[in-house]
């Protein structure tokens, strides 16, 4: 068990850190979106009058995408305070997306960024490597390794309860690092077990794609895909073919009113019109999951032309168990305090992983001095690039968002793509810096690399706050005064990150002479 804990941690620690870091940020992805998309810094609460679907919103769709095969209307919500319309083109079903002011319905300036929900969140679950789900598989392997680490961690730490109360920050560096690792690991163990297992369970279709084959063999024999049959029955995901005959879309408001008779007023947040101009089109209505932990996948389906109910999907108790687990992971419920606890729990996971890596390399350094292996130095570089590097990359992404000119095309690429390139470019630079520092001085280079990258984190975080102020005029005092929580919260978190990084850099600076003294004594 000890070996399993060590090697699973060492080999997958860096990937796990990236997943936990981006997962923690994804808890506030919509809020970071507000920071990255200044045109969406609006206010909406559920007591406000929604725009009329037939009078106000339908003309916008007719005007922009009359012949699109699918229209999606996402009504304004507290965390997404704008109207979103998405539609495919005649040539391609790939959706384009437009945002509108929730009251005036004026088109909002194109954000020209994917934001946190379009980049950081996908990075969390698939590392943005979508080809054959390679990224999702890597994340899945890391997730399963995390579960093994948690269980084997409990087994190897037999003095679990005494370690829970043992935090000796003023003892030797290695001892205090291990104490932080143990205390954070034990205190957050239930949260980490829950979040890791739920993260795997929500992506079941990727990890166990053949699961329905035996159970749905009759459907398979009649030519229906087992997966499709399962998704239709269990999750209500069905596709209806177009009749290829013209049809006129019935009014949408009565459909919403009918659904809300069952679900409660204001509960519909999404309408998807499949084949809007076809006689066999249909309108799918989804309800929000704001008032419960369980992710709500119930839906109403109406006939396009007649406006009559075609079907109502209600998840079974078993599927709602899965919905509950998915809801625990997706955090779509409305509860700010819980959201902050999730965020802190996720950051706690980052601390456990980073201190685990740091302790392992520290402990192996003495062995390295005796045997002269390069392995520990390389792992040091990998840890620095994996921990500080990904944080620096995130800050580069935010900074690029505020500093790049607001033009659709930059250097022959889309602006959103340039932001993502900034993320990877700075990660690459941080990795190169870590390798260079560690290889140049195999004794103390790792301390210099950690310290310099911590200082860079502090610098970039402060620059991001300043860039937000200079480009939008929304400085911290103004956003705090106006109650603009998402922007003020993001700025405050950036400043807190800068302060913590500076503190870490300061402690590391004090550590270098101590290490030198120890080295001399050892020689």
């Amino acid at each position: 068990m000890g070996e399993l804990h060590t090697w699973a941690g060492v080999l997958l620690g860096v990937l796990l850190f990236a997943v936990f870091w981006t997962g923690s940020l994804s808890v506030f992805d919509k809020e970071i979106d507000r920071w990255m998309m200044p045109s969406t810094r609006l206010h909406w609460d559920d007591s406000m009058q929604r725009p009329s679907l037939d009078r106000d919103i339908r003309p916008l769709l007719e005007q922009r995408a009359a012949n699109a095969p699918v229209w999606t209307i996402i009504l304004p919500l507290e965390r997404t305070p704008f109207l979103t319309l998405t539609y495919g083109s005649e040539e391609s079903r790939k959706s384009s997306r437009d945002l509108f002011h929730p009251i005036t319905l004026e088109p909002l300036a194109k954000p020209l960024t994917l934001g946190a929900s379009g980049f950081i969140y996908p990075f969390h679950h698939n590392l943005t490597l979508r080809y054959k789900n390679i990224g999702a598989w890597l994340v899945g392997i890391a997730g399963m390794a995390m579960l093994c680490l948690l269980v084997s961690g409990v087994v190897i730490h037999r003095k679990l309860f005494s370690e829970f109360f043992t935090l000796r920050l003023h003892r030797a560096f290695g001892r205090s690092t291990l104490d932080v690792h143990n205390v954070a690991g034990v205190a957050l163990l239930p949260f980490h077990l829950l979040i890791t297992l739920s993260g795997l369970i929500v992506a079941f279709a990727i990890y166990y794609p053949d699961a329905p084959q035996h159970t749905y063999r009759e459907q398979v024999q009649s030519g229906v895909s087992a997966e499709r049959a399962f998704l239709g029955e269990a999750l209500g995901r069905i596709r209806l073919r177009a009749a290829k005959e013209p049809g006129e879309l019935a009014p949408l408001e009565p459909m919403v009113a009918k659904a809300e008779q069952h679900w409660g007023p204001g509960s519909v947040y999404l309408l998807r019109v499949n084949n809007p101009k076809d006689a066999n089109g249909n309108v799918l209505l989804r309800r929000t999951s704001h008032s419960s932990v369980t992710k709500d996948i119930d839906n109403f389906r109406f006939a396009n032309v007649s406006g009559e109910v075609m079907g109502r999907f209600q998840a079974s108790a078993m599927v709602n168990t899965w919905n509950f687990i998915a809801g625990l992971h997706y955090i779509q419920f409305r509860h700010d305090a819980l959201r902050w606890l999730y965020f802190l729990g996720g950051l706690g996971g980052c601390v456990v992983i980073a201190t685990g890596l740091f302790f392992w390399t520290q402990a192996r350094r003495k062995k390295q001095q005796r045997h002269g292996h390069l392995g520990v130095s390389l792992l040091d570089a990998l840890s620095i690039a994996g921990v500080c590097g990904v944080i620096l990359a995130t800050l580069a992404f935010l900074l690029a968002n505020r500093c790049l000119p607001m033009q659709e095309q930059l250097f022959g690429l889309g602006r959103a793509r340039v932001e993502i390139l900034s993320f990877y470019a700075l990660w690459l630079v941080a990795s190169a810096h870590a390798v260079w520092r560690v290889m140049r001085d195999q004794r103390l280079g790792y301390l210099h690399a950690w310290r310099e990258q911590c200082t860079a984190i502090a610098l970039l975080a402060v620059l991001a706050v300043l860039a937000n102020w200079l480009t939008t005029g929304d400085h911290l005092l103004a956003t705090l005064r106006s109650g603009n929580g998402p922007v003020a919260g993001t700025d405050l978190c950036l400043l807190a990150a800068a302060a913590l990084a500076l503190l870490a850099a300061h402690k590391l600076r004090r550590r270098v002479p101590q290490e030198e003294t120890l080295e001399v004594a050892h020689v």
Binding site: M1, L200, Y207, A211, H214, A229, F230, S316, V319
Partner: protein
């Protein structure tokens, strides 16, 4: 550098990767078998598959922990291999019987 210095880590790496793959294969077969058995026990098809899918990750975790806690590598391979074969063959056998 001795040949042993290369062979030993390579053997360990092969054991680790192979055992992970075998544990995953066994868990995937157990998911299929669990779905089928719970369906036969009276659950609806969708519920049976959903339950089996959620259990799949628990199976995998237990198999990995069990496999890596064996002192003799050969035992882990034999027992996980046997379990995989059993879980793979049982649904086929039951389908033929039906």
């Amino acid at each position: 550098m001795h040949l042993r210095d290369v062979i030993q880590p390579a053997t360990t790496a092969t054991h680790v990767v192979g055992l992970c793959a075998l544990a995953y294969f066994a868990s995937a077969q157990l998911v299929g078998l669990s779905g089928m058995l719970t369906w036969w026990a009276g659950m609806s098809q969708g519920d049976a598959v959903m339950l089996a899918l959620m259990l799949g990750f628990i199976y995998l975790l237990l198999l990995l922990l069990w496999g890596f806690s064996r002192e003799r590598r050969r035992n882990a391979w034999l027992l996980l291999g046997g379990l995989s074969l059993l879980a793979w063959g049982t649904p086929l056998l039951l389908q033929v019987q039906a």
